[in-house]
Symmetry: C2
Subunit: 242 residues, 2 copies
């Protein structure tokens, strides 16, 4: 069975419109390229109980879960506490993280800095070979920071552990409007029920009116479905196939 994933973005700054998240779109693209099926993204506030409930649900429903944000030294960084509560364990300081922080801050180390050594009890540290600071993995939940540069660095350091059977994709750009196209797509799905078929109208592009996406993990099935669609569509309907 291919892997499923959930993504949890934690941060009042997203919900209140102060920043536009970039991590979810990045991670969706990266996971798709690896063959992982992202099933849900949740954006929730910096509140321990809400985080705990969300992590518990995502951890139960998906093979792997990624959280973004809420890790750091200030009052609004409560993701670790939420994760610990979700999984029914205590928050503890991890000796390896204490050592890293002591080394980095020297005699300027504060209690606030040491908050960044906290992990849910039993958590693993991974990906630390190539980065200054490792990623916290608790059961199937990867806890990542919200700052986009660091989020990406940390994910890149562990990405190969998620590689799965890839998706294959074909895009068919057509001149037909969706209203006329619908019957062709419904017909195609009757013959290829396992096809992942998307239809995306484009109102501002003069070249085509709809982008149709065909996807499958089975390249032969995909090619057969593509051939069937092209054979059925009116000859002048197809602008290009990519």
């Amino acid at each position: 069975m291919p892997k499923t994933a959930g993504i949890i973005l934690i941060g009042n700054e997203i919900l209140s419109g102060k920043i536009a998240d970039a991590n979810a779109a990045y991670l969706c693209r990266a996971l798709r390229a690896l063959g992982v099926d992202v099933r849900r993204i949740s954006v929730i506030p910096d509140e321990v109980e809400t985080i705990a409930a969300e992590i518990a649900a995502h951890s139960r429903d998906h093979d792997v879960v990624f959280s973004s944000g809420g890790v750091g030294p200030t009052h609004d960084d409560v993701t670790i506490e939420g994760a610990a509560r979700a999984l029914g364990v205590a928050v503890v300081r991890h000796p390896a993280l204490v050592a890293l922080l002591s080394q980095y801050y020297g005699d300027k180390l504060t209690d606030a800095h040491l908050k960044m050594a906290e992990v849910p009890e039993g958590a693993e540290l991974i990906g630390g070979e190539s980065l200054r600071f490792p990623t916290i993995l608790m059961r199937n939940v990867y806890i990542l920071p919200g700052v986009p540069e660091i989020f990406r660095q940390k994910f890149e350091a562990i990405r190969e552990r998620f590689r799965d059977q890839p998706f294959h994709l074909k895009n068919v750009f057509v001149r037909l409007a969706e209203g006329s196209l619908a019957d062709y797509l419904n017909g195609l799905l009757r013959d290829f029920p396992a096809l992942l078929l998307g239809s995306y109208p484009e109102f501002s592009n003069p070249e085509y009116r709809v982008k149709v996406t065909l996807e499958s993990r089975d390249p032969t099935y995909l090619e057969e479905a593509l051939d069937a669609l092209l054979a059925r569509l009116p000859g002048d309907a197809v602008v290009k196939v990519t």
Copy 2:
């Protein structure tokens, strides 16, 4: 009580990384400016049961709910069916929408087009005075299309119905790192427990290290909290206040 809102983005194309959503960030900014508190964003696939469960939960948990995507004439447009199932009603063709579509498509009208006349039974049509096509409102759920231009037009046409007591915001940009700042923020929250206080590190900006956001619906409370923070911070820590 000020209004709370939930946002549901419906679309495999977002989860599979084919497009980066722009509607949630737009809507979060717009609702915040109106004084509405967005509590959750969910991104889910084009699947009737998942949509139904999500709409039911959001409708119960928030004052108003906005869905984006999954409305249109093709097989993957199943938001209306999900909304109807969530609220325990049938899907019916709305006579006013049938009339609009008949007028627009004339004798080219197809069954696929008529799918766009479908609504959950009992739904209202709103905002149609200024737009060609009104928005479907079912109980507290506003059903909007995913195409960003149309999403915005439709929201703009109904935005005034959501106006509430506004949030007031001050940004304090500081040279301190979060580890040193944490104690000041914790102290501030002890004295101003109702303050909405955020702390956002910026690693690539040479001017400041952290943006601190202070928010309240009460402008006097906000000014008092701001004064208290500025009085406590070291004199050279503050870069600017906006």
